[in-house]
Each structure stands twice: as C-alpha cells, then as structure tokens.
Amino acid sequence: MNKELEHSFVEQLEKHQNIVHKVCRLYTNNQDAHNDLFQEITIQLWRAFPKFRGDAKFSTWMYRVGLNTAITLYRKSKRRVSTQDFDAVQFRIKADEYDDTEEEQLKLLYKAVHQLNDIEKALVFLYLEDKNYKEISETMGISEVNARVKMNRVKNKLRTILNP
C-alpha cells in the first residue's frame, strides 16, 4: 500500500514538477537554494499526500503546499555558501523569438519581482498562474477585497522599482 502511494505520488510530482520549480524560481536566487527549497517542498507534499483526497486537482493542491513551504515552513539553509546568483537571463530560452527590448524589459521585471517580499511574491505567482481573486484569497487566507488591494499595491510597487 505504501509503495503504491509512493509510486502514485512520485509519478504525479514528476509530471507537475514545473509548478515547484516555478515557486523555487521566485523565492530563491541561486541553484543551491533552488534545490534546497525544491527538496523541502517535495517532503511537505509527500507528508500531506495521504490526506490528498483527489477532490481538488493535484496541481491546485501543489500550489498551496508549495507556497506555504516557501513562505512559512522553509528554513533557509545557512550551510551553503551561496554560489553565483541567477541572472534572470539564465532562465530564459535562447531565443530569436524575443526582441531585445522585450528581453531587456523581462530581465528587469524578474529582477524587480525578486525584490518583493514573500507575500507579494506569492500574489505575483498566483497571478502569473492565472488564478482569479477568489482563488488567491482562498490560498492566502485573506478576503477577496484585500487580495485585490494588495495586488494593485504590488503592481504599483513593481512600477516604482522599475521606474525609480
């Protein structure tokens, strides 16, 4: 039974692993920290998995546990000396499909998002994942009105960071 559970979990996480990578991408600055956070989210997901009833989508359920781990549960490891910081470009695909201006703008945008606090990053993450305000408010445990107000503030803050 346990083996079945393990298999089912690992298989689903393997399929949806990009969600965890995306959370790590917003909350960490280098590869070591990314791997550490990925590891902790995986452990928290696995612990919570026996209670996962399947009434929500696995991916939706992952958002909650992933963000909770990044914001609240994860204790940043001090063991590692941080290696070279990510450049936003490192994540980007080598692509001809982008024009230089847009590329430059995105680079600055990712940099700006990294300057936000943990809660603001969570809002940005859910927004980027196309979650509506109802879902954002449910995931964060705040009212819908508050979610909207906070989101507007985040947008303004990003504007200020980008155009000081």
């Binding site: 990009n18 209670k51 909650r64 994860y74 695909i93 964060m140």
Partner: protein
C-alpha cells in the same frame, strides 16, 4: 502593456529547457530525506523546554532531599506546589500537542501561520508559567527553609548573637533576589534569541498578510 502581463506572457511559455527536469528516481530519493522546516525546529525546541523544566524540578527535588530540611516533602505547601506544577505541565503538554497536530501545510497561508504562532504562544506561556512558578516557589519556601534548615538556622542564631540579624536577613533576601533576577533574565534572553531568530520571517510575513484585514 501592463508589466505583469508581459511577465505572464513569458511565464506561460512552458519550456523544458527552462527548468532542470528531475527524474522519477531523483524525486523518489527526495521523499526519503528529512525535513528541516521551522515546525520541526519549534517541535524540537519545545520538547527540549519540557525536558529542561522537568529535569529542573527533579533536580530541585533531589537537592531538597540532601538538605537538612525536615520532612519538606510532606508539608502541605510543598504538596500543593507539586500538584499545581504537575497539573499545569500536563495541561500545557496536552495543549501543545493539540496545537501541533493542527499545523497543516494544506491550510491557507494565513491559517497555517496562525497555527504555528499559536503553538509557539503555548510554549511561551509554559515558559512564563515556569519562570513565575520558580520565583513564587522560592519566595514561598524561603521562610520555611529559614526556620527548618539546620544550617540556615545556626547562621541566624550566630547573626542574632552578634547583633547582625537585620543585616543577615537583608543580605539573604537581596542575594536570593539577585540570583532569581539573573536566572530569569538569562532564560528570557535565551528564549527571545532562539524564537526571535526562528520566527522572525514568519512574524513579518504574518503581519504583512494581515496588514489590510479588518
């Protein structure tokens, strides 16, 4: 174009090259590893606190036996203090366990933070109780010890004979008070540092989340 819209457009370009692709075995190996979440640390530190205070009370008891205090363990006062102390310990242990059980990573962010802070608050109250109990016990038991401990009694007799009885009492009370203040201050500083470091981020995130809630 809205900045976030531009970001969203890029974000949605799911690309396999963008993130490292972990294999089934990589993920399997991860679930076998141990967590290092703050909840685990709060749990460990809290258990250590329970152990510390239980050890402390046992040590005091053992010391009490070695003193020349006649039948201190059968005094009503001592029995009352012991019953209070163990009942409160049982209550806090139960409350701590129940709080700890409610911490669930699938709750919403705000609820999860609240539950962690609640657990921490229980331990804080437990520590507060122990510190207060320690001070009260010393204050309550001190007169008893002064009149029943042979060593102290002979010191009092000597002081009375020399006419220094007031000086003796003042010195004793001040000495006990000073030791109590130092012990309480050290313990408080220790808890403040441990939890302060551990929960700094959580506290500021919780405040940020609750900032606009009415």
């Amino acid at each position: 174009m809205d900045e976030l819209e531009l970001l969203k457009k890029d974000w949605k370009k799911e690309d396999t090259k963008r993130y490292p692709k972990l294999s089934y075995n990589d993920i399997y190996r991860m679930i076998l590893k141990k967590s290092s979440s703050i909840v685990k640390w709060i749990f460990i530190i809290s258990i250590l606190e329970f152990v510390f205070w239980i050890a402390f009370s046992l040590l005091m008891k053992a010391n009490g036996k070695n003193e020349n205090i006649a039948n201190i363990e059968s005094t009503t006062l001592f029995i009352v203090l012991s019953v209070i102390s163990y009942s409160v310990l049982a209550y806090f242990f139960y409350k701590f366990y129940m709080n700890y059980k409610t911490i669930n990573s699938t709750d919403n962010a705000s609820k999860l933070m609240e539950n962690i802070l609640k657990t921490r608050r229980t331990v804080k109250q437990y520590v507060g109780f122990n510190l207060a109990f320690m001070v009260i016990s010393v204050v309550v038991m001190l007169p008893y010890v002064m009149h029943h401990d042979q060593h102290t009694m002979s010191l009092i007799e000597n002081a009375t004979a020399n006419g220094h009885v007031f000086k003796f009492y003042a010195g004793l009370i001040l000495g006990v008070l000073l030791v109590l203040i130092v012990v309480v201050a050290i313990l408080l500083l220790f808890y403040y540092l441990v939890y302060g470091i551990l929960l700094k981020r959580l506290n500021s995130n919780y405040k940020e989340l609750k900032k606009l809630e009415i």
